[in-house]
Amino acid sequence: MSTTVISLISMGALGAVFAVGLAIASKKFHVEVDPLVESLEEALPGINCGACGFAGCRAFAEGLAQGKAAPDGCPVGGVETAKAVAEILGVEATAKQRRVAQVLCKGGEEQSASRAEFVGPQDCRIAHLTQSGSKGCIYGCIGCGTCVESCRFDAMAMNDNRLPVVYEDNCTACGACVRVCPRNINVLVDERQGVHIRCRSLAKAKQTRQVCSVGCIACRRCEKECPVDAITVTDNLARIDYDKCINCRRCVKVCPMGTIDEQEGKPVIKKQRAS
């Protein structure tokens, strides 16, 4: 017999033997897969970003099936996914208020001068570790755009002033930019909130004035002006309590530095005052 024939027969026979063995084994080790998990997984976005707190969409689907996760737990899919999931699970859909990222720094290149030149990889995390970056303010945005790179939904871009801007329509509140920022500039806020204190500086007023023309100097005017006690000044920085803020914009007008920002198209919200 020629080598070709022998080769074909022997390899074919080997393959057949293993195939039979595996077929028997697959019968023996057969695992029932919960069809509920399968259908839930299909309803999810399937990008495995982990924003829900589970290790990927599959784990989240299993959590849903076991009742460990809430149907509206996927921030990326938003209301539509929550509805689809609730329908599969046969529970009432609870629409969660959509959140978007906000950049809490207004001091770009124009407002906050550099105190040194940073030469190295243009990554905020690296710049931050290198003598706290080159910017005058050691609390503000470094401006390398690491958050923009981290965004998987085209919801962020750097402007000419080397500050990130959020395209709120695209933002899914996945939190990637929040986690990646070494200075915690980005935060996730209810999309209805339109008034933001865009500063993170904990430095004293004098130091803040020296390094930035739009930094919070903790003058407390906004705190006094606020009708719903939503603003408090602690550690040389005014902070806004978004649970209380009603978008009245009175603080925006009194701020001497222009730190407080108002967004258009976000009207006054009626809220029950926390007692």
């Binding site: 080598t3 022998i6 080769s7 022997s10 390899m11 080997l14 393959g15 293993f18 063995g21 595996l22 084994a25 697959s26 080790f29 057969h30 695992v31 990889p121 995390r125 690296i126 570790l129």
Partner: protein, 190 residues
């Protein structure tokens, strides 16, 4: 004594991962937790042992008598792939959590060059059947040791202040390199 030397040789002196640099993909991929790495080590050890035995039988009862040794690679890959399938099914049934934490690296054992390397070396060294099986076990144990050692070190690293550019794979490669240097100290033992 002869079996012991083969075993020790495969485990320490010619450690497949740290001395011969075979199978580095799972070494980096599955060495984040000791628990998972032990599971991976067991799976690889099983596949290696069975593959050694079956490959030896195929080599000496099919390939050599029919003079079709040129099909060695194909035949061995067939054996390895089948064994990996078997392990995959077994793990999915017996330990779903381990199955999921191993993820893609479990089916990737198929293409793990450490196993293929073991089968080819076994033929090259002209081992007998028992010697081959011992060699397979030794290679698997050596792989497990390397994986668990690295996983243990990487677990401790979670508490260390690693410079950001080196975090993750970077520092893991440095550790693996140092481990490899340490393992060359076993050279000449057997």
């Amino acid at each position: 004594m002869e079996f012991f030397l083969i075993f020790l040789g495969a485990v320490l002196v010619n450690n497949f991962v740290l001395v011969q640099f075979l199978g580095l993909c799972p070494l980096m991929g599955v060495s984040k937790q000791v628990e998972t790495s032990v599971g991976m080590g067991m799976a690889v050890t099983f596949v290696m042992t069975v593959a050694a035995a079956v490959s030896w039988l195929i080599e000496h009862y099919i390939l050599v008598p029919f003079e079709i040794e040129f099909l060695q690679t194909v035949a061995f890959i067939l054996v390895i792939a089948s064994m990996v399938q078997l392990v995959e099914m077994f793990l999915n049934k017996m330990s779903p959590s381990l199955y999921r934490s191993l993820g893609i690296f479990l089916p990737l054992i198929t293409t793990n060059c450490a196993i293929m390397g073991m089968a080819l070396l076994m033929v090259q060294e002209q081992y007998t059947f028992i010697q081959s099986v011992i060699f397979g076990i030794g290679a698997g144990v050596g792989f497990t040791i390397a994986l668990v050692l690295l996983a243990g070190l990487r677990e401790e690293l979670d508490y260390a202040d690693v410079p950001v550019p080196l975090k993750g794979a970077g520092i893991a490669f440095i550790i693996a390199g140092l481990l490899s240097v340490a393992f060359t100290g076993f050279g000449g033992l057997v």
